[in-house]
Amino acid sequence: MLAFKSILVPAAVILAGVAGSPSALAHHSFASFDASKCFTLSGTVRNFEWQYPHSWLWVIAPAASGETQVWGFESMSPAQLQEVDSRWNKHVISIGDKVTVTYSPLRDGRHGGSMGKVALANGWLLKGTPNACQGAKAVFGPNGLTGNSASVNLPKN
C-alpha cells in the first residue's frame, strides 16, 4: 500500500490543474445554456440542493419592477464540485445566505442558468461548472439591478 501514498499527492495536484477543462466533466449537459454569455445576479438563497446528478442553487432576487423572482442555477454533482473546489459541501450554503452568482443563461430566456461561480458573504468565491461563462466576461443583469450589483466586488478567491 505504500505505493499509493506516493501517487496521491501528485494526482490531486494534477486534478486541480485540469478542473477547468471543458470536456473533463462529461456528465454535465450544457446544451440548454449559452456559454457565450455571462451574467451576475445577487440575491438571497431560497434552497440549496446538494444532490445527484447535479446540484442546484435557488436564489430570490428583486426584479426591476420591485417584485421578487426565483432563479435556478444548475451546477454539477457533489463529487464534481468537490473536485473543482474542495470547499464545497452540503452546508457551505444555507437558506437565507446572501450570494452573488456568475452564470451562463438559459437559451430560452427563463430565470435560470449554469452556475459558473458563487460569491459568499464570508468572502469565498466558490468555483462551479467549468463550462459556464467560458470566454465571456461577467456583466451585471439581467435583473436590472445594475446599481445594486455593481457594488458587489467579487473576491479573487
Partner: protein
Amino acid sequence: MVLTGSFADATANLPLPTWPGPQGDTYASIAKLPDWSGFWAYHRVFVGPPRTDTGPGGEPMFLTPKYAAISADHIRRRAQQNLSFCLPAGVPGVMQHRLLFQILLTPGLVTMLFEDGEVRRIYTDGRKHVPLADQIESFMGDSIGHWEGGTLVVDTIGFPNGSVWENYGVLATIKSHLVERFFRNSAGYLEVDSVLTDPEIFARPYVYKRLYEQSPIPITEEECLAGNRDTGTSVDLTPPPLGE
C-alpha cells in the same frame, strides 16, 4: 432485440486455451491474485475539447469517414450522449468517467461496481462468449476474462448500446470488440491497456491506455434519474418547496 451475426460466432466452437496459474475459480485461488481492493478513480489527462482524430487520452484515433462525419457533427452541436440522459455509459465509455469503482473477486467472476450504479460482470470461469445471435442488446456486453499472472485479460463483445466516449458522438455497434488488459504498473497505478476494433467505426484498431488511482474518498450513491432536472433538451425550473 436479438442480435444477429458477427465474427465472434466463427470462433464459438473452438475450445478456449487453458491458462496456467491461478484463475480465481476458488477463494484459495483468489488469495493468490493481486489485491485490487479499495476505490479506484480515473486518472484524468486533459487534452482539450473532443476531436475526431484524437481520443480523450490524447492517443490517435482513426475514425472511418462515416464516423468522422458523425462525430464532427455531434461535437459541433454539443449534442448529448448516454450519461446526460441518465442512461448507462456502457462499455467502453464507463471506464473513462470520474465515476469511482470497485473491483470484487468471487470464484469465477470479477465484478466492477461503478458509482452511478453501472455493473460490469467479467466471467473468469472458463466459459465462452454467448453467441451474438443469442445475446440481448446491452450496454455492458458479454465479458469473459482470464488471468495471466497479475494481469486480468478481458474480452468483450455485444455492447451496441455502449458509448465509446461521451461527447464524441460515437456509440459502439454490434461489431465492436474490446480487449482490455488490467494490471498494476510500476508507478502503482491500475493500468488498463485496451484495443477496440470495429470496422464500421475505426479504419484501424483503436489502441489506448487509461490509468486509475486509489481514491481517498469512498464511493457515494450517484443515482441519476430522481434528481435530474436537465435532460439536455429540457430544463425543469420548478423550485423545490420552501425550507428544503
